[in-house]
Every structure is written in C-alpha cells, then in structure tokens.
Point group: C2
Chain length 385, copies 2
C-alpha cells in the first residue's frame, strides 16, 4: 500500500476555494502532503497547503504541468481542463474522480444522456445547440410552457437554471447550448452523498432535504435526515448508489434528487466532489464528507456515515442591498444558540446572495434543530460596512 | 464589539506545535487572521497560519516584538517568556490566558502554594530549592518513602515526575528546585476542562478518566465520560470551576484531578490551554476544545460542552526499539474499525514513547468505544522504516 502518511506522497488539488479549504483540514489531520493550484492568488487554500501554485484551471498546460508534480490528483470544482486530466491518467498519474466521470458531468446534456443510457430515472429533456432552437421548437409545438431551461455548461449556485413560463423569460438567457426539462411537480428536493473507493467499497450518507430560497434559487437549509418515510429514503439511497456504480466512480458523488408527488425518485444532477448538501457532516456525522472524500480517493477504508445527531445547515449569503467590505452582524448572538457553529469563508467582499459561509446546527431533535436554524437565519446578517 | 471576523484583527499564537495546529483549524473555520511564533522552522503550524515568525519562545525580545504585531495573544505551550507577556499587557495587548495565571502555573511549587492559599484540595507537599535538601529531610525524618518527586519547572509528558521509593531512585534526578508530594492512593486520575470568557461565562466539559501507561507515565487512554458516579463527577466539575475562578482565568483550563479511595477530589495540576485530555472533544463534543478556547479568549459566547456520543482517545506513541523515519503500520486496518479517526501529527522521526499522534473512537456505547480503543492500540504500530 502507498504510504500516504509520509511526505514522499503528494496529493494535488485543483481549485483552492472553500471546498478545498475544508478538504485541507482533513489532510492536515492525516498529515498528507498537499499541492493546490488555483487561478487566484487570494485562494482560501493558499495558507493551508504545503505548496500553492497559481495557474488557470481550464488551461491544459497549467493543469498538466501541475499534475506531473503529484502522485494523485483530485479537484474541488468541476470546471477544470479534462483533456489534461486524461493525458495525466494515460501517463500514470492517478486522477480521482476520473476524467471520464468529469467529462460526462461537465456537460449537462451528456450527463442526462448518460442517465437515459443507464436507465437511471431522470426528468424528460430536450437538447438544443443554441437558445434560438428553443423558439423554433415552441413554434412547432415540440415544447410547451412552463419548462426548465439549463445551460449545459458552467452553471453554479443556481445560475444557469431557470424556470421558463413564457417567451419573455427566454430573452434574458445566454444564447449557447442548453437543455430543457419537463417541469416536475415535486414534494422535496433531496440529496444523497455516495462515497466509493478504488476497491469498490461503497457507502451512502443519510438522505438530506434541501430547502431553496424562493428568489435566489439557492439552497437555504439542508436538513439531515430528510423528513421523509423510510421507504422513500431507501429508494433515494439505492438510486444514488446505482448512479455511483454507473460512473464507476471513485471519490464522493453528491446526487441531487427529486421526490415526485407519487414518491418516485428522479436524478436531477450530480457533483463529483464534496458538496454543499454535505457540510453538516462536519459536525453531525461520524465521518465528515471531506475526510470521506480523502479516504475514498486514497483507497482507504470508508468511515461510518451515520449521524451522531441531527444536523441542519444554513447557507450564509450576502444580504440584499449590500455590496462591499463584509461585516457579519450579530454573529456573537447566533453563537449563543445551542449547538451552533458558523463557518466563515473569508471572502472580503459581500454582494446580494453571494455565498459567504454556512452555519451548522446540531441537536438530538431535528425539529428543534430546524427551529434554531430559522433563528440563526433571522439573526445573523451579512452586510457591507 | 471587536470584529474578529475581519482581517483587521490579528490573533497571535505562541508555539507552533500540535495543539496550535489543531487550534488553527478552528481559526480557519472562523476566518480569523493568525500570526504564529515558534523556535522551529519545521513547526506544524507554519503552513496553516496567515503569518509565521521564527523566534525563541523563552526570549523576552522575541515574544515582546511578536506580541506588538497582534491584537490578542495566546499560547499553546506554557514555556514562554512571562515577563514579555506582562509588559505587553501593561501596554494594552490582550493576553489570554493572562501572564499572572501563567506565572503561577509555570512553577509547580508556586502552583501548589496557590491551591493551599485558596483552600483548593491538593496533596500535601514540601518544597526544596535543591534536590540535595531532600536527602537531608529524609535523614531528619521530615520525609518518608515512598513519595512523588516533581521538578518545579519544564516538566512535560510525564518527564519531571517520579515516584521515589528509596535513596537509589533519587540519584538519577535533576538537581534543581523540586517539590515532593505525599503518594496518594487513588482510584482514578480524572480531568475536567473548564472554559471561561472575559465576561465571566463558565462551562465545564464532562469529566474524563485518564488511563496511564505503566512504564512511560504517559496517558494511554482518555475516556469520556469517566466511568464514575454522578456525585463524584459533580464534585470534580465543581472543584475545577473553583480553580478556574480562583485564577480569574480566561481561556481553557485543563484541571487534572485525583479521585482518592475515599472519593475525595484533589487537584493535581492544571494546564492553561487545550489539553491532551480534551482531544476527543473534536469528534465527540458539540464544541471542540480548540473552538472553545477561541470563543473564550475572544469573549464570544461559549459553545455547548455536552457530548454527541461517548469518546475514547488513544495516544499514538513510538514503539519501543524504533528510532528513525516514522511509518504508521496498519493504519488502514484501524480506519476500518467503527468510528475511528486517526490524527497524525506529522513528526518525521519516531523514538520510543514519543507522542506521534492520537486516535479518537466515537461510539454511542462507552464500553464498545473502550473495546475498539484496545483493538486500535493492538493493531497500529508507530515504527521506523
């Protein structure tokens, strides 16, 4: 077995953002030597890795050259140069999750086709090379309002997704490749994080429920465990495992799901990395999602995915009407509340709905945790000075 | 209130070792700007702080000059220059824990006198300016075998403490200032971590039980909660609070206690910082001792000290007969066990009984956790290549 716990071994991480930073806490615990590459000199990971390299993540040469200096390469963001990853794999560098998975996922049309090919339940969809083709399809009666529009690439945090109810809604959208999906009436948006290592050991975390902010289309609360029946939870976990197996995935895979009004489970989309829907695992689970990702990619035994207590995660986003140097108003007040831990991401500037951190609430009682989460949300304000 | 959550505020930490490193995880979570000073360029904290300064911790000028660059100063090791801390306090730099506490604690004779002056129960003791005075005291009948010898300064990890049963035992000991203590027959060695902030808010963690390695006089297991009656636990927590109040302490205070055969609680000694007896709080408690220390010194509300589950901590020390480049044999095997998390400190060289890391076992059942801890101990081996 490779001796990861020595400075001879080097783990490379593409992307130096918040997810990478939280991943680095776990590498420090295991004393794993880490190299991080990011396009920004201000990347949060910069001060927590053994070596920081400035380089553009979409640039072939930058990713390839960085990859050649490490033994195993992972990423904390999907927007990285996949061609470089593929070449590195061919030359013997381990890349987990693999370039193959990432290529399938980076483009939402390809991802949807993959589900269709593998009989994985997902909402019906159409693919369009240009936005203008949607207009034609509507005129021809091939598409009816309302529907969901998604850019096939580079969507993030609710950007790149829109519910389209009329022609007017189409006008503001980017012109490029997109898919449209049937608007599914659903009871719940759920997520399951699956961990799978090289040896094929698989574990799923408990199903979480995601409550979205009505305007910003961002997750506002993540609730673990989801308040759903055991039968629906089992179906969700099984579906997520099937997806992970289909990708022959190594590492974490966050699977976002819809629970329809008929209690069917449909796969919405996946992220091949630690995910916003798993942040509560830091405090609530036996094994945090970040430690689990490391265990999976290093082919170590996976940790226990059960929860020590119920957990609710609140995303901290910039208040409307505030742009500029950030201040966390009333943060001490939320720290008075029971089982509350703020995670501040350290971005210097706030703007409306910008993700600035998250707060975890842990409690033996899920209802109480959810109540405290609302208190937290009402109390703390992310404003500008 | 000071805005700690901005880069205008700078927290200084004296000492860049393992405790500091674990403290830094929590500062990263809160995005607090940290400066660390340590005498070694290889200090584990070096890669996790905003700024690292190389400087000797016992050197007045080094500590003073470093202190002048920060807004609040704390330490992760007691062996720092207290005169410099005192001068910094006089000049308006906040130092928590205070120089006064540290001065009282650094010398074990002074510490014992403090307990006596404050009617805090502790084992009877005598103070000697030189080791040779002990011989005289024995000759005069003022002291009888067996007794406990303790160096008054710079003891660490069981060094500086010895049970003396005969004249022969005295010969190997350092010649300087020391105390002798009555050898108390005790049932258990316990510890309580007390957190106290500037506003005077106080919380205690559950009482833990420390099992020592018979030869090395080092803690081998820390068991939380201690397997003692509620009455004894209450007495231990109350005594620890009294000690913290007596010092007018700000920050964490780890209070080591003896439970005598008559169920009396005696204070052994204290450490004004996160402590080996609190490492299991990272996984087992609602608030880790490191986060709690930060909350206390920053005068933030203290976090919940209850446990999410039972926890046992196993110290990982170098195996006998092994000196050199370290290898963690069978580490993957312990990671297979339920609720097991290794913490590797990243020291490159092992030697017999050197503290190289710790392992936490979390479980709903304390007996099961203790059983797994023994498995861990039997399985992992810290050896040289």
């Amino acid at each position: 077995m490779t001796n990861y716990f020595s400075s001879d071994f080097k783990l490379g991480i593409l992307g130096g953002g918040q997810l990478g930073k939280m991943m680095l806490y776990s590498t420090r615990k295991f004393d794993i030597c880490t190299y991080v590459m990011d396009g920004s000199d201000e990347a949060p990971c910069k001060i927590a890795c053994n070596k920081f390299v400035k380089g553009e993540l979409m640039d072939f040469d930058a990713v390839y050259n960085f990859g050649k200096t490490v033994d195993l390469l992972t990423f904390e963001i999907e927007n990285v140069n996949v061609d470089a990853l593929e070449k590195l794999e061919q030359e013997g560098v381990k890349v987990y999750p693999s370039s193959k998975t990432l290529r399938l996922i980076q483009n939402k049309a390809t991802q949807k086709l993959f589900y269709r090919d593998h009989s994985i339940p997902t909402a019906d969809f159409n693919r369009f090379a240009y936005l203008s083709e949607i207009d034609e399809s509507i005129e021809n009666g091939g598409l009816e309002f309302p529907f969901v529009w998604k850019a096939t690439q580079f969507g993030y945090d609710g950007k790149g997704v829109k519910i389209v109810r009329n022609l007017e809604d189409l006008k503001e959208l980017p012109k490029g490749e997109c898919i449209t999906e049937k608007l599914i009436p659903f009871k719940n948006e759920l997520a399951v994080i699956v961990a799978r290592n090289e040896a094929g050991e698989v574990k799923t975390y408990p199903v979480v429920e995601m409550e979205f902010h009505p305007e910003a289309n961002q997750v506002e609360y993540v609730i673990c465990p989801a308040r759903i029946s055991d039968a629906v939870a089992d179906k969700a976990r099984t579906t997520a495992m099937v997806v992970s197996e289909a990708f022959n995935h190594v590492g974490l895979l966050a699977v976002e799901l819809f629970q329809t009004e008929d209690d069917d489970i449909l796969v919405n989309e996946v992220a091949p990395r630690p995910h916003n829907s798993g942040h509560q695992t830091i405090e609530a689970s036996y094994t945090s999602q970040f430690e689990q990702h490391l265990r999976a990619i290093l082919n170590l035994p996976l940790g226990k995915t059960e929860s020590k207590a119920a957990g609710v995660m609140v995303n901290l986003v910039g208040a409307e009407g505030h742009t500029g140097d950030v201040v966390y108003e009333h943060i001490a007040d939320i720290m008075k509340m029971e089982g509350v831990t703020p995670h501040i991401y350290g971005k210097k500037q706030t703007r409306p709905f910008r993700k600035m951190g998250h707060v975890t609430i842990v409690n033996n009682d899920i209802t109480e945790a959810r109540r405290i989460a609302e208190d937290v949300k009402r109390t703390i304000r992310v404003v500008s000075r």
